[in-house]
């Protein structure tokens, strides 16, 4: 960890000003940032604490109603608070579940919505400054390709990077067509599907957030059938582990027929992986295992496994089938 300046922001304007230099970073819960600073992977010279903003504007750390029946998750709201919010639990079970199945109780009490969707990959080469990594050090090469890549992605990879996006919450959000509200020189809204980027030739650029822009909230739209939703996570141990495969699903079931469906996958994609392909297979069909299996095959049709993670293709399919089966039961 290098020495850095710490600024505690009083309001959004001063936070934006303080973060306008290229080597500054916002800090919320710090559970990603401090971890990576200790490893010398993140090297900000100025750290701007945004948790103090909620003192002036409590909505930044709260869950609030949106007109039309949606919910706004303040960027500074803690994972644990959002997970246990009765409205979130009732209207968006998959969001609550994705949060409760993530990290540990202590981490969830610190970590925030904004920080969560911006967390960095767990690829061990990314986290180790002694090894080449295109994401950390553009152009240096990808150590995971040809290295140990059991936890890496099978969807959305490129020849430059195969790192998995680790967030569980982001998978649930991808399924819901959420919107990320940000403040920079001017406020703007970013549809969730456009927020994270595929690695392509530039894995170091992970989102469409511009340098110095602050996330203020994540807006969940009203989805009539989100009540019937589920987040299923498969991992190596029973708790406190990242997903090997996960599925966020919601279905609109009418008399055994699927009228609408949302499917996103976690643990397998370089970004939170919405599968319109799976949804297209499901809609209009009867909720049977054969339908679910066909949807899973469609979702994983583009999978490109590497040496150690071939099992993820079948695991992700089975995870999705199980999630769809349970949510339709």
């Amino acid at each position: 960890m290098i020495s850095f300046d710490y600024i505690s922001a009083a309001d959004v304007e001063s936070a934006l000003r303080a973060a306008s230099t290229p080597s500054s970073k916002f800090i919320a819960g710090g559970t990603t940032l401090i971890d990576l600073m200790k490893l010398d992977v993140e090297r900000p010279t100025t750290v701007v604490d945004v948790t103090t903003l909620a003192r002036r504007d409590a909505s930044l750390a709260a869950v609030s109603e949106l007109p039309g029946g949606g919910l706004r998750l303040g960027a500074l709201a803690h994972m644990s608070d959002v997970a246990w919010d009765p409205r979130v639990r009732d209207r968006y079970p998959l969001v609550s579940q994705s949060l409760l199945l993530a990290a540990s109780g202590q981490l969830r009490n610190m970590a925030t919505m904004g920080g969560n969707i911006l967390q960095r990959t767990r690829c061990s080469y990314f986290r180790d400054t002694a090894t080449p990594c295109n994401k950390r050090d553009p152009g240096s090469g990808c150590s995971a390709i040809g290295g140990f890549n059991r936890t890496h992605a099978i969807l959305g990879t490129s020849e430059h990077c195969i790192a998995t996006h680790p967030s569980d919450l982001a998978v649930a959000l991808a399924a819901l067509d959420t919107t990320v509200q940000v403040r920079g020189t001017a406020p703007r809204s970013i549809p969730f599907a456009d927020f994270h980027l595929l690695p392509g030739a530039h894995p170091e650029v992970e989102t469409t957030l511009r340098p110095g822009e602050l996330i203020t909230s994540i807006d969940l739209p009203a989805v009539s059938f989100a009540k019937r939703s589920l987040y299923l996570k498969v991992r190596d141990r029973a708790s406190y582990a990242f997903a090997l495969a996960a599925a966020a699903v919601a279905v609109d079931l009418q008399g055994g027929a699927i009228r609408g469906a949302r499917v996103a996958l976690g643990g397998v994609g370089t970004k939170p992986w919405r599968s319109h392909e799976a949804e297209a297979v499901l809609v209009g069909k009867r909720a049977t295992e054969a339908t679910f299996r066909a949807a899973a095959n469609a979702a994983l049709a583009g999978a490109r496994p590497h040496k150690d993670n071939a099992f993820k293709v079948e695991l992700a399919k089975r995870t999705l089938v199980r999630a769809l089966t349970e949510v339709s039961a």
């Binding site: 290098i2 767990r122 061990s124 140990f148 190596d236 406190y240």
Partner: protein
């Protein structure tokens, strides 16, 4: 008890140091408040094999707060480093008691990725950490040897397991196999693993003239003292080691590594006390781990299950610094009665950190192979696995022919099976279900040697009535303060509250390292002997002893001096007459999701005969902890190393998986009462390590029963079951 008091030994007493621990009053190595302490951070190599060409320390030396940067170029030359001025490491130059080849900046060699190659000392931990990241090394790099499956084997004469021979041959396995009607011939593997005690290895080194004090996180104050003294060219009396509490070690802190001596060198350089705490990442490589093993087990049996032949060949990796053998075939030499038993060890040198003792070293990895093979044999014979083991029950030690000092394994099988409900098992794989989940029941045998070493104790009666007992042993979390207090109290016939037991300082009488489950037997015997001797001396001074005289009167009769005795208690001829081991049985239930292959362990039942149980509570914790670790060994633990660079890939607690609470179901621990008159004066066989042995096999056998899938490679990750 002479005064009719109920014995405290055996009772489930709370830890005497429990309050100190939960209130933060227990002081661990890095917590000694020394004035003017400076902070050291180790710089590690980023290649696995080769030489350090140059270390650019200019930026680090200019960085704020930096006091010194030690490198192979500028570090003091140590007289104890093999006495070799060219600085080439002489393997095992240290010999016993250290058994280690540390890397002390005496040469430019790099043997593994993450090896200490420098030390930065600064006024604060933060300054030292920042500066350490500024040190840039360049190397001449050689291709590292990392793949145990393709690397060459060591010459046989370099393969020397501790306390045993490379090979053993009892009868003739070839003819035994020829006589067999059923055979099992399989290879089992266990991966690299690393110890992850909560407390990182830590040292504060403080010089006073030419005398050195080390506040140390260790399982062995004496071996740290002797080795550091030897490295620095000092006599052992110039080095004092203090360790009143150690936050877990599990073998990795059994002896010294490099950081203790490096801290002493840094303290000398900056002329201040120096504190050095390893980072969690530095726990992977520089301070040992369990080596990778490849174990080939061949069993032959007659239709009635009688073993006609048993062969166990274990190949494990070592480092390029040392030849350290994981004695994974040890239990195979003594567990089952067969006329023909052969074992053999081989070593393969890899560019990884040196392996060392890790909870149940040898037996935990070895029972995985042997007890999995026994389960395979039971299926091949269509025999119940418990019945197969009873059929081959060893009434005497099969290798030496000696009688057991005690053995109640038969009772362990019976007790465990009854508590588990084993008789309701349908042996057919995939035959048992709980809703959608596949249910599997498996079992295995547990065993670990009962060892004892020489140990000293001083016991004193103070005028206020306190019995002060001192032994230079260690409290590594097992409950040593508590059980030693109990032993002394019972021997003297006083309540435990009157005993003050002190440990963890090399000024005290010498004791063995807290490794190999020796502490209760060794130090316990010494404490018992000292307390009995003190009692006799008191009786001589004041007939009727403590029951009829006040402490003040007794001390007055002793010329006003505390009444004091010092003893050294040693094992004797019984070591030659008997074979001494603890035994147990482990029964496990697993639930496996048939599609997702998620494995859960809802319950484990164990029954062990470990001699006298000194404290039902702390002993239970030892056995339960062993099972928890066994669950980790079976399902989770594995250190990943990059096969090109030798970097440790999962060197943190987020990615190196040990069980969390949710992974552990009920663990039902039973002790079979055992009265062992031979093993040592207090009848204790040790409960520290046996708890993990047999657990991995028991789980693997349950997974087979549940799924029909035999997994011979640990850990049993879901993809190994899914396929």
């Amino acid at each position: 008890m002479s005064d009719g008091r109920a014995p405290s030994v055996g009772a489930p007493l709370n830890r005497v140091d429990g309050r100190l621990k939960v209130t933060g009053g227990a002081r661990y190595a890095a917590e000694y408040p020394l004035p003017n302490v400076a902070y050291a951070v180790i710089v590690t190599s980023t290649i696995a094999k080769g030489h350090v060409k140059q270390m650019d320390t200019s930026a680090a030396e200019r960085a704020p707060g930096v006091l010194a940067v030690l490198t192979p170029q500028n570090a003091q030359r140590l007289p104890g480093y093999g006495g070799n001025t060219s600085g080439t490491a002489v393997p095992n130059a240290y010999g016993p008691p250290a058994m280690r080849v540390p890397t002390l900046l005496q040469n430019d060699e790099v043997h593994y990725n993450g090896q200490p190659i420098g030390v930065v000392v600064a006024d604060t931990f933060e300054h030292a950490t920042a500066a350490a990241q500024m040190v840039k090394a360049t190397y001449t790099e050689d291709k590292p040897v990392l793949d145990i499956h393709s690397a060459p084997k060591n010459p046989p004469e370099t393969v020397k397991p501790l306390g045993g021979e490379r090979t053993s041959k009892h009868g003739d396995v070839a003819s035994g196999l020829a006589a067999a009607t059923v055979k099992v011939d399989q290879t089992y593997t266990t991966p690299l693993e690393n110890h992850n005690p909560m407390e990182m290895h830590s040292t504060i080194a403080a010089w006073d003239g030419d005398s050195l004090t080390l506040y140390e996180s260790t399982q062995g104050i004496t071996s740290v003292r002797n080795t550091v003294a030897k490295s620095l060219g000092l006599t052992p009396d110039k080095v004092k080691v203090v360790a009143y509490f150690t936050g877990g070690g599990f073998g990795s802190k059994g002896g010294p590594w490099s950081h203790e001596t490096l801290a002493a060198m840094a303290a000398k350089r900056v002329n201040r006390p120096v504190k050095l705490v390893l980072s969690r990442q530095q726990m992977f490589g520089p301070v040992g781990g369990r080596p990778h093993t490849i174990q080939h087990v061949t069993l032959g049996a007659r239709p009635d299950g009688a073993l006609t032949a048993v062969r166990h060949e274990s190949t494990s990796n070592t480092s390029t610094l040392e030849n350290w053998v994981e004695s994974a075939a040890a239990q195979t030499r003594m567990l089952y009665a067969s006329p023909n038993i052969e074992t053999q060890y081989d070593l393969i040198k890899l560019n990884v950190g040196s392996p060392t003792f890790m909870r149940g070293p040898g037996e935990s990895s070895g029972t995985f192979a042997l007890e999995s093979a026994m389960d395979e044999l039971a299926y091949a014979l269509k025999m119940d696995p418990v019945a197969l083991r009873l059929k081959n029950y060893a009434e005497t030690d099969p290798e030496s022919g000696k009688p057991w000092s005690s053995k109640s394994l038969r009772e362990c099988y019976a007790t465990g099976a009854a508590a588990f409900g084993w008789d309701k098992r349908n042996a057919v794989p995939r035959s048992m279900r709980d809703g959608r989940l596949l249910v599997g029941w498996g079992m295995a045998t547990a065993t670990y040697p009962a060892r004892r070493q020489a140990a000293g104790t001083t016991a004193r009666l103070l005028p206020d009535g306190t019995i002060d007992v001192r032994a230079g042993t260690q409290e590594i979390g097992c409950g040593t303060y508590t059980v030693m207090s109990q032993i002394a109290a019972d021997a003297l016939g006083v309540p435990v509250s009157r005993v003050r037991f002190e440990l963890g300082n090399t000024d005290m009488p010498e004791n063995p390292a807290s490794t190999g489950s020796v502490t209760a037997a060794s130090t316990g015997s010494a404490v018992n002997e000292a307390a009995l001797a003190l009692k006799a001396k008191i009786e001589q001074l004041a007939p009727g002893g403590l029951a009829s005289n006040s402490a003040a009167d007794i001390v007055a009769k002793n010329g006003g001096q505390p009444v004091e005795v010092t003893v050294t208690s040693k094992p004797g001829a019984e070591q030659q007459q008997y074979s001494m081991h603890s035994f147990g049985a482990v029964f496990t239930e697993v639930h496996v999701d048939p599609d997702l292959a998620i494995i859960r362990v809802p319950r484990v039942v164990t029954a062990h005969g470990v001699g006298k149980v000194l404290n039902a509570k702390t002993a239970r914790s030892q056995l339960q902890g062993g099972v928890v670790w066994g669950i980790g060994m079976a399902l989770l633990e594995e250190t990943h190393v990059d096969m090109r660079s030798g970097r440790y890939l999962n060197a943190d607690l987020a990615e190196y998986h040990v069980p969390v609470n949710a992974d552990v179901g009920t663990i039902d621990v039973h002790f079979v009462e055992e009265n062992d008159p031979h093993v040592n004066p207090i009848g204790v066989k040790g409960a520290g390590e046996i708890g993990i042995t047999g657990v991995a096999a028991s789980i693997a056998n349950a997974v087979y029963h549940a799924t029909g899938k035999r997994v011979r490679d640990l850990p049993i990750r879901l993809e190994r079951v899914m396929a």
